[in-house]
């Protein structure tokens, strides 16, 4: 009975070495699905793109898939980067501003916070449809403003991808706002009063305290937004032009092509998209290491 009682009791001071070993084991278990998805998915995509895992035909190492898509590739990369960069930039400005309003408290802060939370839960597809209905030349906005369809700028399927960028910026600004507001409320807001007592105006507090301390959260959330926007296709597919195609739209079109040989080209586009994403992560990592908080 005594020994059973002892076994039932939790050890209040487990051996640190055993505890570390246990934590590593748990980490390995958690890493398995990540490794399967990332290494397996990415590996098979890379193999497909260089002809080593064809759906049809002989196995042959080649860069044909990359070469065959090259003519349209530059404009596609440019379009994707434009959409992702512009969406992320607008989302950062909107999201950070929204976060500061939420942190400032009061009724306005609560209302803005609630709107942000609701916005995050809206699917992108619904957001894209809504943006189309709002911004198209026959949409709600020109009708509300009393502007004729012929005089309305081409926001949907136009040369600047305005509707696409607007949808991404709207949705992702809410995401950035919630991430940054969480950081500000839990880690940064406490420094507002000391800064004010040292004579810092609201502007100085924003510049000297809030922005530097919120920078890591902003960098991380902005990187997530950039990579997501770069890799998602449905909003650009619904609201964008048919040419040039963003990378993700091109990849999906080629993947669904009746010709199974197009799968290798689709894989090549996917690999390029991943490479650009990894470059964005590297830039973000450098920015993080240079941020004042990290130093």
């Amino acid at each position: 009975m005594g020994s059973r009682g002892k076994r039932g009791m939790a050890n209040p001071n487990p051996d640190p070495v055993n505890r570390l070993r246990g934590a590593r084991l748990l980490l390995i278990v958690g890493m398995i699905p990540v490794v399967v998805v990332v290494v397996g998915g990415l590996g098979s995509t890379i193999l497909q793109s260089i002809g080593l895992m064809p759906l049809v035909g002989p196995v042959r190492l080649s860069v044909d898939a990359y070469v065959s898509t090259a003519p349209a590739l530059l404009s596609s990369i440019g379009t994707s980067l434009w959409i992702a960069a512009a969406s992320t930039a607008v989302a950062i400005v909107l999201g950070a501003t929204t976060a500061f309003v939420v942190v400032s408290g009061g009724r306005l802060g609560r209302i803005v916070g609630a709107i942000g939370a609701v916005t995050v839960s809206v699917p992108h597809l619904i957001g894209a449809a809504t943006m189309g209905l709002l911004l198209a030349d026959s949409g709600v906005l020109p009708r509300l403003l009393g502007i004729d369809a012929t005089a309305w700028p081409a926001l949907v399927a136009g040369p600047w991808w305005v509707a696409v960028i607007a949808e991404y910026a709207w949705k992702e600004s809410a995401f950035i706002a919630l991430v940054v507001a969480g950081t500000l409320l839990t880690r940064v807001a406490q420094f507002d009063e000391p800064a004010a007592m040292l004579g810092a105006s609201r502007g100085a507090r924003l510049r000297m305290v809030f922005l530097p301390l919120a920078a890591p959260a902003l960098i991380v959330s902005a990187t997530i937004v950039f990579i997501y926007t770069l890799g998602s296709y449905e909003v650009a597919w619904l609201l964008g032009r048919t040419y040039p195609e963003p990378l993700a739209v091109m990849a999906i079109r080629l993947f669904n092509d009746v010709s199974l040989s197009s799968r290798t080209e689709s894989a090549a586009i996917a690999v390029l998209t991943v490479a650009i994403s990894l470059a964005a992560v590297a830039v973000a990592a450098v920015a993080m290491r240079r941020s004042a908080v990290w130093r």
């Binding site: 800064a195 004010a196 007592m197 040292l198 810092a200």
Partner: protein, 349 residues
């Protein structure tokens, strides 16, 4: 002389909070002095500081800083320094840049601000740690930097909100010495919140006693201890000897017998109070009895560090007397307690 800070009928009511946190508080702090705001938790000490700082709006009353009404002035424009219970150093700035923050916020260049900050960092004896990140500092060092940072802003008044309460006894003692040195060198006007009577005695010239949002007494340290304005002040200051009685013709009549008191004592019902630290105790029943001597019997003795506290019975009253640890006193001993007239005070009841 114009007060450095003056509170006039300050009242503060929080929503869903009754009674008010502060009720008609009037307080004057003279330039170059240090006043300790002393009181139990929830008495309104920190609320007073936050109202002076502009971090809370008063529900009523005015705040004058150097004679100027600052009640409606933004916190950043009051030129009031505040050191919080936690140091709250900016984690993204080095030690020297924390101290230089006020000058940077005022628009000075980094070099100018750092040059001006260095003497303040030297003053708190951390001149060698300027380039360090604040994360590498100990608790005591962090609070020193917080004080240097507040002083570097050259505030009209420095508010300290229990800044040493999280430190251990040794560090607290060091911080008291630091504060005394700062007072000698800069003569700042200081208003300090504390619930530690000993701390108030060490660093302050005057003590303002608060309870339930009301200022009970604001006076010199000695008078607050030995001349309490009320029995509440006597209790809050740790006074343990309160003997009810009546004053007639400069004599207090009670269970102790007839005890001569100060001529200023009001005629009528009054409680005789005196500090247990100030009373004397000698073994045996002294004969002839010196002035202010009363024969007593020891009821109990409790040792506390190098001192011991004796509970003695005089007539029908039980009194507390602090005696040196070297004195041998045990329950049942016949003793004589000495109550000189100057340690006695009568509070009208």
């Amino acid at each position: 002389m114009t007060s450095a800070i003056a509170l006039r009928q300050i009242t503060k009511r929080f929503i869903d909070h009754r009674p008010p946190a502060l009720s008609g508080v009037n307080l004057d702090v003279l330039p170059g002095t240090c006043t300790a705001l002393l009181g139990p938790s929830g008495s309104g000490k920190s609320t007073i500081l936050r109202i002076i700082a502009g971090l809370e709006d008063p529900s009523g009353g005015r705040i004058l800083l150097g004679g100027r009404d600052i009640t409606d002035v933004l916190p950043e424009k009051r030129n009031v320094g505040l050191v919080f219970q936690r140091p709250l150093l900016f984690p993204h700035l080095s030690v020297i840049d924390n101290v230089a923050f006020a000058d940077r916020a005022a628009g000075q260049t980094r070099r100018q601000a750092r040059d001006r900050a260095r003497p303040y960092l030297d003053m708190v004896q951390l001149g060698d740690l300027g380039d360090r990140g604040v994360g590498s500092l100990s608790g005591g060092q962090e609070q020193r930097v917080a004080i240097a940072r507040a002083l570097a802003a050259q505030p009209t008044i420095l508010l300290l909100d229990e800044p040493f309460s999280a430190l251990d006894a040794t560090l607290r003692h060091e911080m008291h010495e630091l504060l005394l040195r700062i007072r000698r060198e800069l003569s700042p006007t200081i208003l300090m919140v504390t619930h530690d009577r000993d701390e108030a005695t060490v660093v302050a010239d005057r003590i303002a006693v608060l309870e339930n949002g009301q200022l009970l007494q604001h006076d010199t340290v000695d008078r607050v201890y030995h001349r309490p304005a009320s029995l509440d002040v006597a209790r809050l200051m740790g006074g343990e000897n309160v003997v009810s009685g009546v004053v007639r013709g400069g004599v207090h009549h009670s269970g102790l017998g007839a005890v001569p008191v100060d001529e200023s004592a009001e005629e009528g019902p009054g409680a005789l109070v005196f500090r247990h630290e100030s009373a004397g105790l000698i073994p045996g029943h002294a004969s002839p009895a010196p002035a202010g001597a009363l024969h007593a019997t020891v009821v109990a003795v409790i040792r506390s560090g190098l001192r011991q506290r004796a509970t003695v019975r005089v007539g029908t009253e039980l009194l507390q007397v602090e005696v040196p640890g070297t004195m041998t006193v045990t329950a049942g001993d016949a003793v004589t307690i000495i109550l000189p007239e100057q340690i006695l005070w009568v509070v009208a009841t």
